[in-house]
Symmetry: C2
Subunit: 121 residues, 2 copies
Amino acid sequence: MQGLHLIADLRDCAGPTRLDDEAALAVLCLDAVARAGLRAVGSLFHPFTGPDGSPQGVTGVVLLVESHLAVHTWPELRSVTADVYVCNVGADNTARAEAVMARLLDAFGPREPRVQRVRRG
Amino acid sequence: MQGLHLIADLRDCAGPTRLDDEAALAVLCLDAVARAGLRAVGSLFHPFTGPDGSPQGVTGVVLLVESHLAVHTWPELRSVTADVYVCNVGADNTARAEAVMARLLDAFGPREPRVQRVRRG
């Protein structure tokens, strides 16, 4: 159960991914894990809407054989928090986790990315 | 987007919750967040099985208005990792997050719980 958890708090996001677009966020996350060689076993994304039905933030997760990816967006703050957590059972998935986070940073374009690395297990 | 992320790595779990029981784990997590006053907007649990179809670990998540809860279990190691992440938009959810984690610790019964507290945002 030893693993690595990348914890990102991203402000001043300038795209290109829209933070209120549930479908685009799901595609981004699923594509990022697939390209990195991680194995998705399920995903769930939930769009929040304002009183008038307008799209607001999105929260979503991809369940992995290796653990999970989660994102939460606040379009009104141009902010995102993201988690990429991989266990290293049978393989060292550190580089795969870093590749996923790099893809997310490219997609969200934060001015000053803050990424914490927590060793787990 | 400021918040608190509780990160638990739990070994030598002695129950009472079975670590290979997807349904029990889902009930535990949904009940824990509801009792703490957090608001679930969705959940997804995935059971892993061995080559003979026997139940193995479970990975699952509850999406919250306040962010998310995630659990990963390794019955063969009697181990669990759990995340309770709450944002404090509009309210301080620190006590609610701690209440959820306390419920999980009661349910999993680890010998030496290791819980890290990460401030986010």
